[in-house]
Each structure stands twice: as structure tokens, then as C-alpha cells.
Assembly symmetry: C2
């Protein structure tokens, strides 16, 4: 059993467990009360705040504990925007922020604010200069994650912070994915984190607002946590969160080297072992423990489910999972293949043996899913295999020069791409295939397929139903 989805939630760190259990007896009372149980609770809370502040690199009075990373983001974005509403109602975010940031941005838009979404390149990173040009005189807040949660790419936070400083705009850094690896350097104004990402318990986030950053609390008044996080403090969990943050950061330098070697190995071996697979995200400027790849001709859900059966827990940004009908906004913004997407994020302590076992299992899993879907693979120059249903799906070529039309309407990812791959060999080099598809993922995956397979993607035109994607055979 190997759990490789630390980026979703990490198992409870032993230090967190110990601290949680130790503080259950001491930390249940109201820290606002003056009797001894209250004073004990207050002491635990104060000590946890000191420890967390040290780990983050801020003053204790700049840090409050929220009930989750999501709440920290929602409150941080809303409070910072409200604090600067006289400056204007413009918010800048990157296109690949966590959904909590993007949802906060949508709420801001719904309330009449404006939002600029800074695009990213193929590695998933924003360009610091491009980000800088998005800042305006009416920009109230800018948001940038420290590292991306789906592909692991680190963002140029220090450079963007410098642009923000020059423009007089506060920068909020969502550090959920990176805080366990160390504090975020640079001149940010607000920072958010989430304890269960670093091995702390669920139920604890943190919101840091630097002295001097304007902040106006939204929503009903509450006296706890400087008014920034309503509700009775969850002190045992807060103590556990702070203790485990210090513990994981203390071991981070060494563990990062070890896990980076394992993810380097995955980045190198997966594309060799699994044909038609692309590793995405920045190969160097990235989180040490996370690697993401996409494989043609498979659906994410089947791969996840087969890997689960084989004892590996991973996640996917594919649209072809039961929980979502659209591909990950991150992969979309990067313009990379979304079908057959797999994110591997290794928890602290993952062994080389587990990774080797994963490398041993993965090729068979992908091949099996491909076989079930009737997809050929393009390893080498092998000809297309017998493809069930593709004969019916491919309309007859209308004339010598007419395009071959593939009707993939109503078919979900990865079927439109599988159909395309099956028939591309039936038009001559220079000939055209048109894929009719109404699955959202086709918009991303057909161009991505063309790039991976060396074919030319011409473009998309609206059709009576869905879109028509035009592809010219080059090879």
C-alpha cells in the first residue's frame, strides 16, 4: 500500500499525533477565560502561535489560525480587498491558483470587482514581467501561489513580490503546497497555509497579515483570533499543526534531496516505460515530492482505479473522472494534455522501493486501460491496431481532397482523441481529419495530441453541436 497523494492531504505526522494527544487534556477550555483551564489553553495557543510564526517567518501577532487553508484564503482575499477598497476593486491572480483563490476571485467579481488572470507558460509558471504588467493603479490585491498544487512548479514569488512592492500592491501568497518545505522568502504582505498538507491535522489553516498591510474583516464580528477567524479555537489541533510544521521543516532539507531523487527518477522513467506520455511542469524549479504526467488514450479514472487496485493512491486532473466534467484549470492554462493525467505526490518517508514498485506496475496498468478502450499505442511506428467502432465513426472520405470526418459527439475524453489517432493513418500526408466533439477536454487534448504526435493542429470552429477540430497529417 503506497499513498502517493500527499498534495491532497498528508497522513498525520507522528509529532502532530503526539502533540494532539498531549494537548487534548490541556487545550479544551476557552482561552479567553481567566481561570486555570482557560489560562492553560491560552498558554498552549500562544506557544503554538509563536512556533508557527517562527516557521513562517513572521511576528506572532501577524498570524492567526483559521479553520482551514480554504478559510484562510477566503478571509485573506476578502479582508485585503476590503482594506484597500478606496484604492480600487481590481484583483490580480494567476490562472493556476488553487480553486479557493479562484473562487474568492469569482465572489469578488460577483460583487462588482474586476479580476485579471495572469496566464502561465507550458511549465505552469507565470512570467514575472507579465505578472507585473497586470498590476494597475486600481489594483487592491495580487495573489500568487508559492508552488502549483497539480504540477509542482514553483512560481517566481520573490520577483513578483518586488513588482508588487514597486506598484504599492500587497501580494497574498498561497503557500499551502510549500510551507512544509520551508518559509516563503520575499516581500509578501499576506500568506496562507493549510496544516493537513504538511502532516498536521485537518481543521487548521493559517493566515498571516503583515503589519502595515491594510485589512478589513468581512462578515459578522467575532472577537477570537484578532477578529480574523470566527469561532472557538481548536487548540489541540492548532498545537499539533504548529509542532508538526516545525518538525517537517526541520527535516525538510534532507528529505527534499531524497524525494527529489525519487521524483527525478519518475520523471525520467515514466515516459520511457509508458509510450505516449508527457511529464508536465518545470523539471527544475519545482516541489521536491511531486511529479505529474499525462498519457494519451486512457481516462484518468480507469488509471486511478487500476492503480488503486495495485496499491497506489494517486490523483488526476483529467476530466474523465467521476467527480468532474471539465479538465483541470491548471492543465488547461498550461495548454498540456489532460487525458490520462496522473499526479504523484510522495509523502515524507516514501521509500525508493515503493517508487520502483510503482514504475513496475504503471506500464501494465496503462496498457490494460488502453486495451479496454480499444486504443493502439504509437510506440515506434506501429500501424494502428484494429479499433472497435472506429470504422463506423469515421465517415467516408467525401472526395479525393475532402476531409475525413470523425463523429465523436457524445463521446467523453479520451475517446475523441482515440478516434482521431485511429483514423489519422487513413488520410494521406497533407490530408485533413476533422473531429466533431462536444467534450470539453477535446479542446485541450486534440491540440496536445497533435503536438505530441507531430501532426498539425489547424484550429477549432463551432459546429451545429460541439466543435469541429481540424488536423492535418504531417507524419
Amino acid at each position: 500500500m503506497s499513498y502517493f497523494d500527499a498534495a491532497s492531504s498528508a497522513p498525520l505526522h507522528p509529532v502532530a499525533r503526539q502533540a494532539l494527544q498531549a494537548s487534548l487534556d490541556e487545550g479544551w477550555a476557552d482561552p479567553a477565560r481567566l481561570y486555570r483551564e482557560g489560562r492553560r489553553a491560552r498558554m498552549l495557543l500562544d506557544a503554538a502561535r509563536e512556533a508557527a510564526a517562527q516557521a513562517v517567518g513572521c511576528r506572532p501577532d501577524e498570524l492567526v489560525f483559521t479553520s482551514s487553508g480554504t478559510r484562510a484564503v477566503h478571509s485573506g482575499v476578502a479582508g485585503a480587498l476590503a482594506g484597500r477598497r478606496r484604492v480600487g476593486g481590481h484583483l490580480v491572480v494567476s490562472a493556476v491558483e488553487h480553486s479557493s483563490v479562484l473562487h474568492a476571485a469569482e465572489a469578488h467579481e460577483a460583487a462588482g470587482g474586476s479580476v485579471s488572470r495572469v496566464p502561465v507558460g507550458r511549465t505552469g509558471a507565470v512570467d514575472a514581467d507579465t505578472y507585473g504588467t497586470a498590476l494597475r493603479t486600481d489594483t487592491a490585491l495580487a495573489c500568487l501561489q508559492s508552488a502549483n498544487h497539480e504540477v509542482g512548479t514553483e512560481q517566481p514569488v520573490a520577483e513578483v513580490a518586488e513588482s508588487c512592492r514597486a506598484a504599492g500592491v500587497p501580494l497574498l501568497v498561497d503557500a499551502a503546497q510549500s510551507l512544509g518545505w520551508g518559509p516563503v522568502p520575499g516581500g509578501w504582505s499576506l500568506l496562507t497555509g493549510s496544516a493537513h498538507k504538511w502532516g498536521g491535522p485537518a481543521g487548521v489553516g493559517l493566515l498571516v497579515v503583515r503589519k502595515g498591510a491594510r485589512f478589513a474583516v468581512r462578515g459578522p464580528v467575532d472577537e477570537r483570533e484578532s477578529g480574523r477567524a470566527p469561532g472557538f479555537e481548536n487548540i489541540p489541533a492548532i498545537v499539533a499543526a504548529a509542532a508538526s510544521l516545525r518538525a517537517v521543516q526541520g527535516a525538510a532539507a534532507e528529505e527534499a534531496v531524497r524525494l527529489r531523487a525519487l521524483t527525478d527518477r519518475l520523471r525520467e522513467r515514466v515516459p520511457l516505460l509508458v509510450p505516449d506520455t508527457e511529464v508536465v511542469g518545470d523539471p527544475v524549479r519545482r516541489l521536491p515530492h511531486l511529479v505529474t504526467f499525462s498519457s494519451l488514450y486512457v481516462d484518468g479514472e480507469s488509471v486511478l482505479s487500476e492503480l488503486d487496485r495495485a496499491g497506489f493512491s494517486v490523483s488526476s486532473g483529467s476530466s474523465c473522472t467521476s467527480s468532474t466534467l471539465t479538465p483541470s484549470h491548471v492543465l488547461k492554462a498550461m495548454g498540456v494534455l489532460s487525458e490520462g493525467n496522473v499526479r504523484v505526490s510522495l509523502p515524507v518517508g516514501t521509500t525508493a522501493e515503493e517508487v520502483e514498485r510503482f514504475l513496475g506496475v504503471l506500464p501494465g496498468v496503462v496498457a490494460e486501460v488502453r486495451a479496454k478502450l480499444g486504443a493502439h499505442t504509437h510506440a515506434g511506428s506501429r500501424a494502428a491496431s484494429r479499433a472497435g467502432g472506429s470504422e463506423e465513426a469515421a465517415a467516408e472520405v467525401a472526395g479525393e481532397a475532402g476531409p475525413l470526418v470523425v463523429d465523436a459527439l457524445g463521446k467523453r475524453c479520451p475517446l475523441p482523441v482515440i478516434e482521431l489517432a485511429k483514423v489519422i493513418g487513413r488520410v494521406p500526408v497533407g490530408g485533413t481529419v476533422v473531429v466533431l466533439a462536444d467534450d470539453e477536454a477535446a479542446r485541450l487534448d486534440i491540440p496536445a495530441w497533435c503536438e505530441m504526435r507531430g501532426q498539425r493542429y489547424v484550429g477549432e470552429t463551432p459546429a451545429a453541436r460541439g466543435s469541429a477540430y481540424e488536423v492535418i497529417r504531417l507524419a
Copy 2:
């Protein structure tokens, strides 16, 4: 060591502790994921929801877990108001709701809504008919607690729910103080609760929205908990909360009888043992474990601190504590004495011996604080004792019929009342004393003193600084 502040937060119930520890290993993963760790987490969450719903008396799909009772109230009030905004923007609350409800109401007012606050009688209960008349055609929501958190008085929820039903207005019941004692009967539409009040862990609240009740989620979108409670679910704590709710409810009938006998004993003995003390709240329709009383001529903070020293942890709604400058809004709405206020709320398992020990300690504590403040007590008809400073404070009687003016400006509770008590014997029966005071508590405590001491309170008039409170000596 006796902790008598269960109404603030109860120590972790053994069942909660056990469930929490057992689910730390199983409940840390993302329940939205399909791999085995996710499925295990989902099963725990579903089972906890079933258990909590059964304890509350609702369908599982009507109940979501929030990060605190405060969050449940804030979200519940905002969502119910938004869901019925086409009906109107009027909100009805009782004057003695928990601050989380009142703060949500203030936020509603700040956003342009209107709020009616239904007054309460001297026992702290609303009158159901009075409540009913506050409902209007534009009333979007009505809120009523199941029982009051400061004085323990139960509210006529079933009758008010019936009025609300007749008026087509949804009723939100804040059941934070009573849920451990059993489900809230009657036709409410929304209900909120807080786990750490019943011996569950902090970090878990619950919000129930009955099918058919209109509800529109406010704030940024989040897919968790039916969109009603953003942030990663704290499953171990949720499991512990649900398990302990069922456990405490299971033992509630028997424990209620036992604790009611102990609070009956306190209600009977405290006024006999401590002169000039009033027990407040309904003697019959009340929570079994909670009793509140106020003693003249002492400040809440000193009493709390002396009781703490003697091994008893209680709380106070007095203004004379370091954490607040205004008396409890509950005591104020009831029109009862706020000085020297003490709330005793017994946790499950409190022994008769602890209560007897408290009764043994309390009279000495109050007497000591009174002595330090230079206050006499009115036990029997004893004459006023030598009162340090009162000679200077009492201005000379201007003429035979002129009032005696006591300058208590700048003096905080309980000093204005102590000064009044010291000089009342210096005017003849029928004579007048005027107290000049600028402490907020005087407005409540001078009339309350008059009622307790059998003097006539004439009224209050604004003065150059503070107010002038006029009292006629009757006895």
C-alpha cells in the same frame, strides 16, 4: 479542582477521545478521492453524518458539519436570509441570543437589512405571543435559541415555531446549549450546534437546513459539505463529535435528573448563604446543569479570581471583568443585577461533594471581596459599616429637602452601587439620593439594587458627564 463552566466548553468526553484517536489513522485523507484512503475517510464521514442526524432528528442530507458553532450560525443566518431575500430583508431575533447570532444580525443590518429584537421577561424567556407579533410579511428569518447560555432559561421554541409556521417564516434554532440534552422538538427549519459544548472536540459545529427551507450559500463557492461549509473536512473531529453527541444524549435523561438536583440545591442555598444575592433565570423551565446568580457589592472579576484560587472555575456576565466594559446583554435584557454575576454550569459527572464544597467556599469568597471593596452587607437590618471614601463621595445635603448627591463618576461597577448603599441611610425615609455615574453597568445595577433592597428607583436623567440616577429611600 472543579471545573464549573461547561456552558463555555466541556472537557473532552471519553467517547470523543476514543473516537478521535481511532479515526486519526483512517480519517486524514480527502473523502472526495476515490482511492482506498479516500473511501475510508468518506465512510467515516457518512457514518458520522448519519449518527449526528439521528441525534438531531433530521435527515443526513439536511446536516452539514461546519468548523464551529459560530460558523454554523453565521452561515445559517446569512444563507437563510439570502435564500428568502425576495420575501424581504427583515430578521427577527430574541434579545438574549448568543453573540454569534446577534453579530450575524448586525452584519445583516450593516448590509441594509432590518432587525427586530424581541425582548424577554425577568426570567430571560421570550413571550411566544410577543415573538409572534414581531413577524412581518417581509420577515425572511426568525432566530431563537433553545435555551439561554448565560442563565439556562429554556425558550418556548415549539410555540414560536408554530407562529413562524403560520406566518410562513423559517425559524433558526441555535441549540448550542441544549443539544447534548436531547433533540429540539418542534417545527424549526434550521438548527445549529457546537460540539465542544457537549464534550466533543473543538472545530466542529453543525448546521441543519430542513428540506424545503430556502437557502442560498454566501461567499466563495466550495464543493465540500453541500457547498455550505468551505474547507477540507476535519473527519477525526467530526467522528468524535458525532460519537460523543450520541453518548451524552444516551445518558442525558439520567444525568439531567442528577444535575438538576445539584443546581436546585445551589439555587436554594446560595441566596441563604450569601446575603444580597439574587438567583436569576427560570427556576423550572431551564437547563438542568446551569445556575446563575448575582451578588451585590462585589465585582465579577474578583469573585472569579478568588473562586479560581479556591479551585472553582466559573464565568461571569458582569461588566467588571477585564475582558469587557459592558454588562452581559442577556442580564441587561432581563433587567437583573449584573454586578457580582456568577454562572455555574456543571459538566457531566459533577459530584454532590464538589457542589457542597463550592457552597462551603462561596460565602467566604464573597465576604472577602466585599470587605476589600469596603462594602457593608445588608444581612438583617444591620447599620451601614464604616465605608472608606464614602464620606468624601457624598456631598453635603444642600438643605432639609434637597437630595444627597453621590459622585461616582469614573468609578466602575460595583462601586457606584456600593456608594449608594453606603449613603442611603443618611437620608430620611422619603428622602432622595442622586448617583452620578458613567459606568455602563450602573444603568442596570442601580434599578436592580433598588428592587432587591426595597427602595424606589425614580429614573435616570442625562448629566454633564454620565447620568444622574435618582433613588428614593423607602426603608
